[in-house]
C-alpha cells in the first residue's frame, strides 16, 4: 500500500508540471504586453519597462517558466493587481466558504441520490424509477445558475422564506466571530445557535442549487450499479437463505454497488470545488469561484492565474484521494 501511494504521487509530478506549464503559457498567450495589460494604456514607457524588469519579462521564456515554477513551489502566487493582497492570503480567506458549500451540496446529493438510485433499481421500470430517471436527466440538462435564479425568485423574493445571497445576515454577522472560516463549525464551537440558524438558512439555496448535477449523476450511477449487483448469484443465494429483502439490499447489494459511486462522488466533488463559479456568482457567495469571476471581470490576471492553479491542484488531489480510497473499499484490488 505504501509503495502504491508513493507510485501514485510520483505519477502526479508530470501532471502537476503540465498544469503549471499550461497556466504559464496562458498568461503569456494573452495578446499584448502583460505589463501594459497590468498598468493600462496610459502608463508611461518607463513604468512599463520598470514593471517588465520587475516581472522578469525581459528574461528568456524557459528562464521565466523556471522562476514561475520556483515561486509556485514556494507557494508564492503573486499579489492581486487591484487589492494588492497576496493571492495565497486571499485563497486562505475564501477557501473555507467554497469548501463548506461544496461539502453541504455533496451531502444533499448523497442523502437524496443514493436512496433514489436504490429505489429506482429495486423497482425497475416502475413509475418511481421513471420519475427518478427523468428527474435526473432534467438535473443534468439544466443550467445550474438558471435554477439558482429561479429558486431565489421563488423562495427569497416571493415567499421570503430564505435569504437570497451571502453567507450570514448583517445582524447575525455583527456579533459572530469567525475562527476557522468554516462558519458552521465556528458557530458550533462557540455555541452560538442563533448565528448557526442564520448561517444554515443562507446555505440552503446555494447548496441545493449546487447539488443538482451531482445528485442527478449519483442517482443514475447508483441505479445502474445496483441493477448489476442485484442480478448476481450471491444475491440470489442471500434471498434463498430467507434473508429479509431489506437486509439483502441494504447490506449485501448496496455495499458492493458503492465502488462506482465513490468514483463519481470524488470526481464531482473535485468539480464542485472549482466549478462553483456560476453558483457562487448568483448567490454572492464569498468563495474561490466568485473571486475568480471578479478577477476575470477586472482583468486581474494574477487572481485568475492563482485561482486556476489552486483549483486544478485541488482537483488532482481529490482524484488521488479517490484512487487511494479504493484500497480500503475493495480489498480485491491489488496494488503492486
Amino acid at each position: 500500500m505504501g509503495r502504491y501511494i508513493l507510485r501514485r504521487l510520483i505519477q502526479l509530478v508530470p501532471v502537476l508540471l503540465g498544469i503549471s506549464l499550461l497556466v504559464f503559457a496562458f498568461l503569456h498567450l494573452i495578446p499584448g504586453d502583460p505589463a501594459v495589460t497590468l498598468l493600462g494604456d496610459r502608463a508611461t514607457p518607463e513604468a512599463v519597462e520598470q514593471l517588465r524588469e520587475r516581472m522578469g519579462l525581459n528574461q528568456p521564456l524557459p528562464l521565466q517558466y523556471l522562476s514561475f515554477l520556483g515561486s509556485l513551489l514556494s507557494f508564492d502566487l503573486g499579489t492581486s493587481i487591484f487589492t494588492g493582497v497576496p493571492i495565497l492570503d486571499e485563497i486562505k480567506l475564501r477557501w473555507p466558504a467554497t469548501f463548506e458549500l461544496s461539502v453541504v451540496a455533496m451531502l444533499i446529493a448523497l442523502l437524496l441520490g443514493i436512496p433514489a438510485g436504490v429505489i429506482a433499481a429495486v423497482k425497475k421500470n416502475s413509475l418511481v424509477d421513471n420519475l427518478t430517471m427523468s428527474g435526473s436527466l432534467l438535473g443534468v440538462s439544466m443550467p445550474v445558475y438558471w435554477l439558482g435564479l429561479l429558486l431565489v425568485y421563488l423562495f427569497a423574493v416571493n415567499l421570503q422564506w430564505l435569504p437570497p445571497s451571502g453567507r450570514i445576515g448583517i445582524d447575525a454577522g455583527y456579533s459572530f466571530q469567525p475562527i476557522t472560516g468554516f462558519f458552521i463549525f465556528d458557530a458550533l464551537i462557540q455555541g452560538d445557535f442563533a448565528a448557526l440558524g442564520n448561517i444554515l438558512s443562507h446555505l440552503v439555496l446555494p447548496a441545493v442549487t449546487l447539488s443538482t448535477i451531482p445528485l442527478a449523476i449519483i442517482a443514475r450511477i447508483t441505479r445502474s450499479a445496483m441493477l448489476e449487483v442485484l442480478s448476481q448469484d450471491y444475491i440470489r443465494t442471500a434471498r434463498s437463505k430467507g434473508l429479509k429483502e431489506l437486509m439483502v439490499i441494504g447490506k449485501h447489494a448496496l455495499k458492493n454497488a458503492m465502488l462506482p459511486v465513490v468514483t463519481i462522488v470524488g470526481l464531482e466533488f473535485g468539480t464542485l470545488l472549482g466549478g462553483a463559479i456560476l453558483t457562487e456568482t448568483i448567490f454572492s457567495w464569498p468563495g474561490i469561484g466568485s473571486w475568480i469571476y471578479g478577477g476575470i471581470l477586472q482583468r486581474d490576471y494574477p487572481v485568475v492565474q492563482g485561482g486556476v492553479v489552486f483549483v486544478a491542484f485541488m482537483f488532482v488531489l481529490v482524484n488521488l484521494l479517490v484512487d487511494l480510497s479504493y484500497a480500503f473499499l475493495d480489498p480485491r484490488i491489488q496494488y503492486k
Binding site: V15, S141, Y145, L278, V304, A312, F315, V316
Partner: protein, 297 residues
C-alpha cells in the same frame, strides 16, 4: 485488402439486417423518439428564426414595452431594452446551437485524430497524448474554457474554440480505447497481413468500426457543449451585443438587476437552454440504445 474493400462497398445481408435492427431499436426507445422530436423542433425553430419573427433581434426596440410581462404583442414579454424576448430566444437558440455543433466538431476532429494516433502507434506518441489528456482533465471544464476565452477575448468564435478544446480529452480517451481493442481483432490483423499502410488501416478500417460509440458520444457532447457555452455567455465571456445568445440573455437580466422583478427575462432563455440540452441528451441515449446496445446496459 480486396476482401475488406469489397465487403465495404457492398453491404451484405447481415449488415443490412443489423442496420434495420438499429433503426428498430431506435424506434423502440422512448427517450430516443422524444429526443428526436425535440431536436427537430429546436433545429427547425433555429433555422426558421427569421421567418418566425415579426421583430428584428438586433434593432427592434419597443421602449414602451420595457420589462413588460408576456402579452399578445410580446408572447414571452420584453427585456430591459424593450426587445421582444421571443425573438431573442429564437435567434439566441441559433447562436447557442451553432456554438454547440461547431465546438463538438472541433473536439471530435482533434480528439479522434489524437486518439487514433495514440491507440495505433502506441509508444512515446501515446505517452505524450496521454499526458496532454491528463493535464486537460485536471481542470474543471468551466475553468479550462474560461482560461481559453480569457486568452482569445470574448466572442462567439472564442466560445466555440474554448468549449471545443474542453471536449477534446473525452474524444481522445474514447477513440484510443476503441482503437486498442480493435487493432488486435482479426479483420485488422488480416488487412495488416495484406500489407496495408497504417493510414489506410486507421482511416478505412478502424475508424468506421468505432463510429457508433463516437456518434453517441458526439450527440451527448452537443448537449454538454451547449450548456458550457451558455455558462460562458452568462459570465459575459460569450456572444457580445447585439448578437443574441441564450446565456448572454440570462447574464443581461442578472447584471441588469431585473431578473427577479421581471422573471420572464430569465425563465424563457433558461427554459430553451434546458430543452436544447435535454433534446440532445435524450437523442444520445436513444442512439446508444440503437447503435451500441452493450454501452447502454
Amino acid at each position: 485488402m480486396a476482401i475488406a474493400s469489397s465487403s465495404r462497398s457492398k453491404p451484405g445481408p447481415l449488415s443490412k439486417l443489423r442496420k434495420n435492427r438499429a433503426v428498430q431499436r431506435f424506434l423502440e426507445s422512448t427517450s430516443g423518439l422524444i429526443g428526436l422530436g425535440l431536436t427537430l423542433f429546436i433545429v427547425l425553430a433555429a433555422l426558421l428564426a427569421p421567418v418566425l419573427n415579426p421583430y428584428d433581434a438586433a434593432s427592434a426596440r419597443d421602449y414602451a414595452a420595457r420589462l413588460q410581462g408576456p402579452s399578445l404583442a410580446h408572447w414571452f414579454g420584453a427585456d430591459g431594452l424593450g426587445r421582444d424576448i421571443l425573438t431573442l430566444v429564437w435567434y439566441g437558440l441559433r447562436t447557442s446551437l451553432l456554438i454547440g455543433l461547431v465546438s463538438v466538431l472541433i473536439g471530435l476532429l482533434i480528439g479522434v485524430g489524437l486518439g487514433l494516433a495514440a491507440g495505433y502507434f502506441r509508444g512515446w506518441i501515446e505517452t505524450v497524448i496521454g499526458w496532454i489528456t491528463d493535464v486537460m482533465l485536471a481542470f474543471p471544464s468551466v475553468l479550462l474554457a474560461i482560461a481559453v476565452v480569457t486568452v482569445t477575448g470574448p466572442s462567439v468564435i472564442s466560445v466555440m474554440v474554448a468549449v471545443g478544446i474542453v471536449q477534446i480529452p473525452k474524444f481522445i480517451r474514447l477513440t484510443r480505447s476503441m482503437v486498442l481493442s480493435l487493432r488486435e481483432q482479426e479483420f485488422v490483423q488480416t488487412v495488416r497481413a495484406f500489407g496495408a499502410k497504417p493510414p489506410r488501416i486507421v482511416f478505412l478500417h478502424i475508424l468506421p468500426a468505432s463510429l457508433a460509440p463516437l456518434v453517441v458520444q458526439a450527440t451527448l457532447a452537443i448537449g454538454t457543449a451547449t450548456l458550457e457555452a451558455a455558462g460562458l455567455g452568462f459570465l459575459g465571456l460569450g456572444a457580445q451585443p447585439p448578437t443574441p445568445e441564450l446565456g448572454t440573455m440570462l447574464s443581461d437580466a442578472f447584471k441588469g438587476g431585473y431578473s427577479l422583478s421581471a422573471p420572464w427575462t430569465i425563465v424563457f432563455p433558461g427554459l430553451f437552454i434546458t430543452l436544447t440540452v435535454l433534446a440532445f441528451n435524450l437523442l444520445g441515449d436513444g442512439l446508444r440504445d440503437a447503435l451500441d446496445p452493450k454501452g447502454s446496459q
